[in-house]
Symmetry: C2
Subunit: 208 residues, 2 copies
């Protein structure tokens, strides 16, 4: 069994500080074997009852990518209209996805009721299946960053539209659409903070 | 700005391989400053629109801990009855929580509709607030493991019962109950695999 080095925590903290939600990608492709290796690491993510419900859909077809982009444009336009009037100009200036240029794009779904795991741990909280897919996404996110690769999570989408665009089984639930590629820049400050939209704050901790 | 070392990815992979869902804890307390530091790192987790909806509730009160344990026993007994007959004996042998002995216990909730982030990114998928809390949990999980500390996620609970036991604001949604402490053993094999319940499999990847 491998062992962790004594500096494991400070090195992990550096990884956490440098992880970003990336929306600006360089045009170069990612090596296929790097992409495959990063995706394979999601098998090490926690999942409820070891059910491993995460389903990763690599989207290469230009028509399917365009369908996702069109849905993003529609939902983003709706979001702009529903933003507080005094914030609409700032909202319109934000770049909220790398869908135009990201070389690798991935739809992430959770299987409906997978036999793996024999149902353990999810009877009272079936949403733990979706949460397992989120844990796999975060695993991919940090692994990518450790390799110098940026990941952006696109949530301004209609789940039904993405489900249809990617033609996946009816009982899969859409969790996220991910953009992957070499980032234009590195930073230890969230992009929304650099853009003046919001600032990061300390964790909220209560006692009971 | 810090930089990542060239070996960042293999070291992160070691961390992923050694992370476990821990249900067997040594009785020693965790140093308070270590617990506080690990919890503070959740502020570095991704969150939708930088909304940081995660609410961490440190549970010290013996009566509140006992209420959570009682709910776990009840839901676990129900789950046993609903398990396939040929698996019930195996289910009954599993140790599924460290609620009896874990020195640190944390209820994790997502704020209902936090003003932080100004609603960005969550109009079509409000579940991204809960997903942000899941990302904070995974951040804590990996940071704890990097410090040699084990974390166990308890999901065999009725969300309403935990909500009542911890007396939190009505619009917070219960996401997970976590046990934290020094693990009895380290392993690179999931506990459910060592117990013969289920085996880990490769990631499921499709192309479209």
């Amino acid at each position: 069994m491998d062992r962790l080095p004594p500096h494991a925590l400070p090195e992990f903290e550096t990884l956490l500080r440098l992880r970003r939600d990336v929306r600006r990608f360089r045009p170069e492709r990612l090596p296929d074997d790097l992409t495959a290796h990063l995706l394979s690491l999601t098998a090490l993510a926690p999942s409820v009852g070891l059910s491993q419900p995460t389903r990763l859909v690599l989207v290469d077809d230009p028509a399917r990518r365009e369908a996702v982009r069109q849905d993003f444009r529609r939902r983003n336009a709706e979001a702009l209209v529903r933003t507080a009037p005094e914030r609409q100009a700032a909202y319109a200036r934000l770049k909220l996805s790398g869908l135009e240029e990201a070389p690798v794009q991935i739809g992430v779904f959770a299987a409906g009721d997978p036999p793996q795991g024999h149902g353990l741990g999810r009877r009272t909280m079936p949403e733990t299946l979706d949460h397992s897919a989120v844990l796999a996404i975060h695993t991919l996110w940090l692994a990518a960053r450790a390799a110098g690769v940026g990941l952006g999570w696109v949530s301004i989408l209609d789940p039904a539209a993405v489900h249809a665009a990617l033609d996946v089984p009816a009982d899969w639930r859409f969790v996220a659409y991910l953009c992957l590629g070499w980032p234009v820049e590195d930073s230890d400050v969230p992009e929304l903070e650099r853009a003046g939209w919001e600032s990061r704050r300390p964790a909220v901790i209560l006692r009971r």
